[in-house]
Subunit: 101 residues, 2 copies
Amino acid sequence: MDFKKLADVHKALANESRLKIVYKLYEKECSVTELTDYVELDQSTVSKHLSVLLNVGIVSNKKVKNLVFYSLQTPCIMDMFSCTIKVINGEDKPQKKCCKN
Amino acid sequence: MDFKKLADVHKALANESRLKIVYKLYEKECSVTELTDYVELDQSTVSKHLSVLLNVGIVSNKKVKNLVFYSLQTPCIMDMFSCTIKVINGEDKPQKKCCKN
DNA sequence: TGACAATATGGCAAAATTACCATATATAAA
DNA sequence: TTTATATATGGTAATTTTGCCATATTGTCA
């Protein structure tokens, strides 16, 4: 088990602003400017957040004219969140599985 | 959506040593001493890692004599990891879900 | 080409995280 | 009670993360 890589993915998700971005991208792909307006942080900060998500493969991007659109590469992430929310609500208990494959 | 709490859960998982602990606890419940031997960190460090996991509800503990046993409270976490690993391997692609409920 | 808009990068200060040491606390056994 | 073992907590230095500003880069359009 590569705990380093596993930790890196969770690190990418361990930030409120990046989580907001991921949720937004689940709705639709967005340009950096759209995301910057949405999360209300400096454009350079958003750009860096996006590179963190890009580096672990959670998002992908494509250039259209002078815009760069980001999209959620791994919808799987949203299933992870449904588990995370169960953890928050203390809904999962030993002997049960929350999302069976 | 409470992005703060969501981020806190992922923060708890955003550390190699805590991930090792979670995997170990998936096998069986362990005392702090057992976990300390396993991850090879200072006992006080392990104790603090455990309190992080405890605070977000990922583990629970119980006292037996002068030992404190920790156990995985949310097996759901292991399903999250199977998704995380797909992210790492780039196996998930848009339009597909990796772990359907 | 020049001017402009969108995005990325370098640098920095503040804040958060990590792991250690020392020590406090609690429980058990002698 | 004394001693020993297990766990938790306070303090601190090193490292990492975060977000800003300034600026570089890239692409579009006139």
